[in-house]
Symmetry: C2
Subunit: 435 residues, 2 copies
């Protein structure tokens, strides 16, 4: 079969643009399940592979007003599972502030509930402010990734504690479980000691899909070893191509093939019927940006106190913070290339929080996505609408049909599980022979 | 208004009877969301206050074959929220193996998703086997309750971090959050240190409903201080009356009124159109009980190794285990009163896991429930169908109409939230003045 794009919807509450909620008709609450379900159904109408719910573990009313009060991802996506039938459901859960038994169980449960549409976006939680909500200290970057690696191994191990056919449920004999088809995990590692088995049967997908977004060296290595989907924060095609190749190049040494991992750069499309209409939409969005807390937001995003700087002055030299490694690098590289002021940098963050903004007519947006897809920059895209639902509807109604006409994108879902739609094989269970 | 009964549905997978899944037409999987939703809709048709999902944190294929592989309660009930409109949704989550920030957030999320129908059944996790799945040691009974008390205070505190009207979402000015309407928690206690605020707005119910089932002295005291609903494990009306009065008597000293806490004994009703038909159903259930693992199951339930005893011999003297305090006491008191063998005891556990079994015609079942309700033994009942859906349908179709005709039970839901249906006031937020 011809290679086709995969599309995710990055669901960040009221939209990826900081002021998107102020647009006419825009969803203005991230606590309204019916609004989220409406958005999910639009994405499903657009045949998206999945919706992907970002997350934070601390409220930050100053820097992120319109999405700091939010539904929790697992409960949210379990509800969305009931309002949809084909679209994948990716929930962000931290490996630094969670427990592997609970995480393994919750995602297996979401996978059963959704009949094989669950994905776990495994993050290490960059923001140090989370620690204060968990009565602990924030581990440093290297330690967070060390923990994450073991955490992922434990979760995958728990997902393999039960054979697919562990439950004969024989009413005549009364045999419910075949005792030969369940095994403990008996993991005893550096950070975790977990006996198992988990108290839920093997998931419809075998393993729910794993996605990751870490851009640092340990983040990339962990993704190459454990992830099915990788999100990339990039600002231009050269960066995207370099990152794409670097990740794919890591795979053979880990016993994996390039097509085992799907690399999706994040992009905020602002689409019009013409370039002019698109530019006017973006201008309307930017006119809503309130820069009164710009320095506070930049301080939070870059992990450096910028409150003493001039918003219209140059970007100061900043120490490399322990947080947001790859994000910081991408943003600052672009800002330096283009001689930005701090206000320019703030507008860039406000627009799509550092992700690539693609503004133009549907035809030109499709052209650019095709170029990225066909020249080694992407296997598809993580679509970040500026505001909802219109920012998504524009993409689904105007861009998707063009991609479909060109044969670059599915006309309909090929499979029933997310794993099937991503074209990924169901993992065998190493603990039990097939059958 | 006349005092009316409240009814909960105790959802324990394939039913509360250990062999219920073997009955013709019975649901035989606790991993099938559509089966659970069907059951929830039957309970909603019966105007039940809530469905209540029990939980364990370890798989026990030997002792609990038909419900050891189960959906996780929060994801399960979030999905059920979308398939129902009025019934409350009570999820069991442990205070020993969870984190208060995550728990506060998840239940607030379920409350937003369900528009005010969430309840947290707070348990301390009796089974020591859970500890091995969390890389820790199982705290002793006293310590578990000490942790639970602080845990509940933290969660309730997090639920009050945001005023109800914290989000002006003013599109014109761009003011999304009123900064005067959000406060951190700054809890610094013996077991938890939690800064807050939580990253979700105040729940529709203010606080989701709290239920508890602890029968020990510290369990009863914690329930009297913090719970809205208390489940009781009892075997006869005298025990129920004594427990009911003891709990209500604790309330005034804690500044609470008797009607602030709803006491619901668990009961497994086996209902027929005649007493004879009901007895035949119970006999059919008991004929399916397989006693090959009886001693193992008793050992697990009582926390004492019984593998060396004769199943048809007398019940041995047992040390009081640190687990299942109240449950153990209730079961053993009944067993001694009635001169049971270990096999009799096993059958009692197999039937409803130690709860009261009420077998008879619909009329006689209604008579007994009315007697309990009107003579100080109960504010309603936690209904534990032996098997599903028929064990529930029998109750809803045969017993509920009788209770309604007698004015003992609602004809329809009075409110839209669980709290309203339970007749409980919405808690004021001590951090913010009203308005």
């Amino acid at each position: 079969m011809t290679r086709q794009m995969h599309l995710g919807l990055f669901l960040l509450g009221t939209g990826s643009h900081i002021a998107g909620w102020r647009m006419d008709g825009a969803i203005d609450s991230f606590q309204d399940i019916h609004a989220v379900c409406e958005v999910a159904r639009i994405a499903e109408r657009g045949k998206f592979d999945f919706i992907f719910m970002g997350d934070n573990l601390n409220a930050d009313p100053g820097a992120h007003p319109s999405y700091t009060a939010r539904l929790e991802p697992l409960t949210l996506l379990s509800a969305v599972a009931m309002a949809t039938s084909h679209i994948g459901l990716a929930a962000t859960v931290s490996t630094t502030y969670s427990d592997p038994f609970t995480v393994a169980r919750a995602f297996a449960s979401l996978d059963h509930i959704s009949k094989g549409r669950a994905a776990w976006n495994a993050v290490t939680t960059a923001a140090p402010a989370a620690a204060a909500n968990f009565g602990t200290l924030h581990p440093d970057h290297a330690k967070r990734y060390e923990i994450a690696g073991e955490f992922l191994d434990v979760v995958k191990g728990l997902w393999d504690c039960w054979a697919d056919d562990a439950f004969p449920k024989d009413r005549a004999s009364g045999l419910y479980i075949d005792p030969a088809k369940v095994k403990p995990l008996d993991h005893d590692g550096t950070h975790f000691k977990v006996k198992g088995p988990v108290n839920i049967g093997r998931a419809p997908q075998g393993h729910p899909i794993i996605s990751q977004a870490g851009g640092s060296e340990p983040g990339q290595q962990l993704a190459a070893r454990t992830a099915d989907v990788v999100f990339a924060v990039v600002q231009d095609i050269d960066e995207a191509r370099t990152g794409y190749k670097a990740l794919k190049d890591r795979l053979p040494a880990l016993g994996r093939k390039p097509e085992d991992v799907c690399v999706l750069p994040g992009v905020m499309p602002v689409v019009g019927r013409t370039d002019k209409e698109a530019r006017e939409k973006l201008a309307a969005l930017m006119a809503h940006v309130n820069s009164s807390n710009a320095l506070g937001m930049l301080s939070e995003r870059f992990g450096v106190d910028m409150s003493g700087y001039d918003l219209d002055g140059p970007i100061p030299e900043m120490p490399k913070a322990d947080t947001y490694h790859s994000f910081t690098g991408v943003m600052l590289a672009k800002a330096k290339r283009e001689g930005m002021t701090l206000r320019d940098l703030y507008n860039l963050v406000a627009a799509a929080r550092g992700h690539w903004v693609l503004c133009g007519s549907a035809e030109s947006v499709a052209d650019t996505l095709q170029d990225w897809f066909e020249t080694g920059a992407a296997d598809g895209f993580n679509i970040m609408p500026a505001y909802l639902p219109d920012g998504l509807t524009d993409f689904v109604d105007l861009v998707v049909p063009i991609l479909q006409q060109r044969g670059l994108y599915r006309q309909d879902y090929a499979g029933t599980t997310l794993r099937e739609n991503l074209g990924l094989a169901r993992p065998a269970n190493p603990n039990f022979s097939a059958g």
